[in-house]
């Protein structure tokens, strides 16, 4: 009975000021979710599953019956992190008069504030007998100062006495809602049922590609599979949604607030009292004792959503053969991947769907050194050209890569890497880190202390029983010049470039001379 009355009150309270009809759309008939990667997150860094910094475009189809005359349509069940200024409503026959996001939330503070000067009931419970007593009172202070009440002809406060006291309000004031609510105002010529499209941007989402690379026995090719990993921290689940992800970097502005907004702080109601006496008693040791007791361990973090196990899937036998993958299309200068089936983008969850499946990709290991004077830094790269001839030829979105190799019939992880967005025909390089089997060293010598020429010898060693491809990029300072070398050098990335094959269990050397033009 009481609950029903309260419901009535809530419904009645939702009525806006003017005599206009309120139509509530409880949820979408159909929803489409397009996720965008956080443009400021590097390829190597993982999705922040607590506070994802990407976002999503939600497009909802809703059916509502609008009455003739002025009406307000309230949209419930929208994403919690909605960016209200991005909301678009199409399909209203007579257009949108105005759009509103009302964040006047029902909270202890707003109840208190709206009751200023009104009659409320104060319930006092006798601590000895447990008997409750209801007293008529009038609120005389606003929330900023805290409670001063008038009881008949006298005045008092709330809860300063140390007795249990509570204010009982007689209804929910008009215009306070449980959640920030988006609404539009329209003036229809006639009553009709319409299908609306509501679209808006919302924060709290993110996605990335996850590549699984299984090297083949020849060491020159691999089976490449990629997942789309998406994460949502929104309070709303989007059930059976047409889902897309957009690859490429999108510009965002600083004044768009994609993060969750702190409406709660505006709802805080501090109750203050007159000063209570405070004493610095001789029982300080008690406090010390309390402090010396080790603090209890922090509660364990809430269990993170279970990520899908990648390694299990990287099984050679039937490598991802029957996983449906997303289809790609160009979206202006971006790439849009459409999920093969409808999925539920659940609240607070992570989900994975196949992105691409490319068996037999030519992906060759190359050892590359960046050399500056006597300092050589070597990395192992898995390199392939992103074209059809190499078994790839697809736009590859930024993401992480896990590389596996078969050892004794088992697929074992040999390296982890990441790539940025790679277009078709680009060179794709998975950087595997510093190798142990191939190393490069440079030693420089001068004939005289102030000789303008420095002779360097680069020695590359390989302890593997097979030959490896090796590349060196020799970087020079602006005032330096490559005077001569014992092998022909070309240019690459603004550096002198040498490539060779280091024989099995062997070494390769390059001698070159650098001239310093500052010296005469």
């Amino acid at each position: 009975m009481r609950a029903a009355l309260l419901l009535l009150l809530v419904l009645a309270g939702a009525l806006p000021a003017h005599a206009q009809t309120v139509v509530t759309s409880a949820g979408p008939d159909k929803v489409s979710v397009t996720l965008y990667r956080d443009p400021n997150r590097g390829a190597q860094s993982a999705i922040n599953r607590s506070y994802p910094q990407g976002f999503a475009l939600i497009t909802e189809t809703r059916t509502v019956t609008i009455p003739a005359g002025p009406a307000v349509i309230r949209f419930e069940g929208v994403a919690g992190n909605i960016l209200p200024e991005s909301a678009l409503v199409s399909g209203l026959p007579d257009g949108v008069e105005e759009k509103n996001l009302d964040a006047n939330l029902l909270s202890p503070r707003s109840l208190f504030d709206r009751a200023l000067g009104r009659r409320v009931l104060v319930r006092r419970t006798n601590p000895a007998t447990g008997k409750a007593q209801l007293l008529q009172a009038t609120l005389r202070s606003s929330a900023d100062g805290a409670a001063v009440l008038q009881f008949g002809g006298v005045y008092g406060d709330l809860r300063c006495s140390g007795l249990p006291e509570a204010i009982v309000y007689d209804g929910v004031p008009q215009g306070l809602s449980a959640k920030p609510t988006l609404s539009v105002k329209t003036i229809a010529k006639a009553e009709r049922q319409v299908t609306l499209t509501l679209s808006y941007l919302s924060g709290g989402f993110d996605w990335q590609a996850d590549y699984v690379i299984a090297m083949r026995q020849d060491g020159q090719s691999a089976d490449l599979f990629a997942w789309i990993t998406l994460a949502s921290t929104d309070v709303t689940s989007f059930v059976e949604a047409d889902t897309q992800v957009v690859a490429g970097k999108i510009n965002r502005t600083a004044n768009s607030n994609y993060g969750p907004r702190n409406f709660a702080s505006a709802s805080y109601l501090p109750l203050q009292c007159w000063p209570l006496p405070e004493y610095d008693l001789e029982t300080v040791s008690v406090e010390d004792y309390v402090q010396s007791v080790p603090a209890p361990p922090p509660p364990p973090p809430p269990p993170a959503p279970e990520p899908m196990e990648l390694m299990v899937s990287a099984n050679r036998a039937g490598f991802m053969a029957d996983t449906k993958v997303a289809t790609v299309e160009a979206l202006g200068d971006l790439k849009l991947y459409r999920f093969p089936t409808r999925v539920t983008v659940a609240s607070q969850s992570q989900k994975q769907v196949g992105l691409m499946n490319k068996p037999g990709v030519k992906l060759a290991p190359v050892y590359v050194s960046d050399i500056l004077r006597e300092n050589a830094q070597t990395v192992l790269l898995l390199r392939g050209k992103n074209n059809n001839a190499n078994g790839l030829g697809a736009a590859m979105p930024a993401g992480k890569a896990a590389v596996f190799t078969e050892v004794g019939g088992q697929m074992l992880l040999v390296g982890e890497s990441a790539i940025d967005d790679k277009a078709v025909d680009e060179i794709v390089e998975f950087r595997m880190g510093r190798p142990q089997s191939v190393s490069a060293r440079t030693v420089g010598t001068r004939r005289r202390p102030n000789d303008r020429n420095t002779a360097y010898v680069l020695t590359v060693t390989n302890d593997q029983p097979w030959p490896v491809t090796y590349e060196a990029k020799v970087h020079l300072y602006d005032h330096e010049k490559m005077a001569r070398s014992d092998r022909p050098l070309s240019r690459k990335d603004g550096a002198s470039f040498w490539t060779t094959i280091v024989p099995a269990n062997g070494t390769a050397t390059l001698s070159y001379t650098v001239r310093d033009d500052r010296k005469r």
């Binding site: 009975m1 009645a12 309270g13 009525l15 000021a17 397009t34 200024e85 257009g95 105005e98 509103n100 964040a103 006047n104 200023l116 000067g117 009931l121 006798n126 601590p127 007998t129 209801l134 005389r140 202070s141 100062g145 001063v148 009881f151 002809g153 006298v154 008092g156 006495s161 140390g162 007795l163 004031p173 008009q174 215009g175 679209s199 490429g248 970097k249 999108i250 510009n251 502005t253 505006a266 007159w274 000063p275 209570l276 006496p277 405070e278 160009a330 979206l331 202006g332 200068d333 971006l334 849009l336 459409r338 736009a395 940025d420 277009a423 078709v424 680009e426 020079l476 010049k481 033009d517």
Partner: protein, 488 residues
Amino acid sequence: MRALAVSVLLLVPGAALAQTAPQPTAQGDVSVTIYNNGQALVQDTRRLTLANGVNRQEFPDVSDRIRPETVRLSIDGASILEQNFDYDLLSPSALIQKAVGQTITLVRTNPATGAETRERAKVLATNGGVVLQIGSNIEVLRDDGLPVRVVYDSLPPNLRARPTLSISLDATGGGTRPATLSYLTTGLGWNADYVALFDEAKSMIDVQGWVTLRNDNNVAFTNADTVLVAGAPGQGGSGNAGMAPGTLPGTESSGRARLGDFYLYPVGHRITIAPNQQKQVSFLSVGGVPARKLYQYRNDWYGSSSDPVSAATVLSFSSSKDGGLGDALPAGTVRVYIRDAKGQPQFIGENRIDHTPMGSTLAIRTGEAFDVKIKPAVEKREKINSGEWERTEKFRISIDGGKPTTVERADEVTYWRTTMSYTVTNARPEPVTVDLVQAGLDRTYWHDTRVSSESITGEQRSLDERLWHVTVPANGSTVLTVAFDTRY
């Protein structure tokens, strides 16, 4: 107890009916002028009933973020004596402070029996605890932690529930007359939000413009005549975000009303701005405006990049009357959408624009192109002699007091020649043109940079920047090589 509950239930529905009516407001005919810097001018015409002589008039329902020093009241037949803004708020601690020297009632509750006993007490002080005189004894309020309720006989006059504006008036003759209260308040602001739907095949955009206004006050402005000013008085002009580089701001006048230097955007009808509300009202809707997509890239220094860098995707259109949006655009965010293969609009990026006069060319950078990339590289760096000589030293020498002779020294001018290559790749199925800019040309000490050779003829945009239009075939690449000669 049961009877009590029933009485509560009976109370509730009656009160509920009373509350469904719109909240009464003391505001009269309100007009609100909102500026861009979160500030607004409120003009509120109320009817005041005054008695002949001195009146003290309170003005409830003014904005809670009012700037009291800006309040002005215009009224006929009355002169203003003084204007007060009282913000000594009613609270339990303020009450007891004002009760110092006065007598209050204490109600003690026996925790064992619940029995209440009353006694009178005089408040002596409230410094870090309330010191009371009860009969001949002095004690501290709630020193024992037991429940004690403080009851006051009256409220002190100057404590208020909310900050309150009051004005004392000397009226000549009684009666009701209109009075206009005007004041500045913070917590009300606005900006524009644009939605641009780009049709790449037709090279056209449809643009909707919305004004977004926010009220962070706890006060509603009911049925307010609202005007938005595109500007922030006292904060200088705006920047030129969104303006296409190398273009001048437009010189056309929009048909909209102006306030001094600023344009006004009226909302069209009276609106109610609710507390803590964000409200959007449409002000612009234009379809079929020509627009083109550009690719831009800017290298800030003569540097190499081992990984290719994506070109920026830029949407360019005009705000001109002919072939443009045909309006002056207030500052805000432009969000660009494009239809996917199924015809559904998808978001492709956003950017900010400043106040833009009509007739301007805009260029909105929406994001980076997945398929169009540039790889800059320093190919060569060499010292060259220009064949020019410059006088570096000049002396007048006199030997043993003889006739002075002038000796000059000239050095050949040497340059450092940096040969840059820019490899532009295009994985799109159609040719593209990238506007490639090399910057940093005028940042050396000598201010003497020459472009000695370039594989595509460029244009010097400024002392610091040179621009090349690099055309790249479909699924192909183009290499631009440029030699820069600098003195350092």
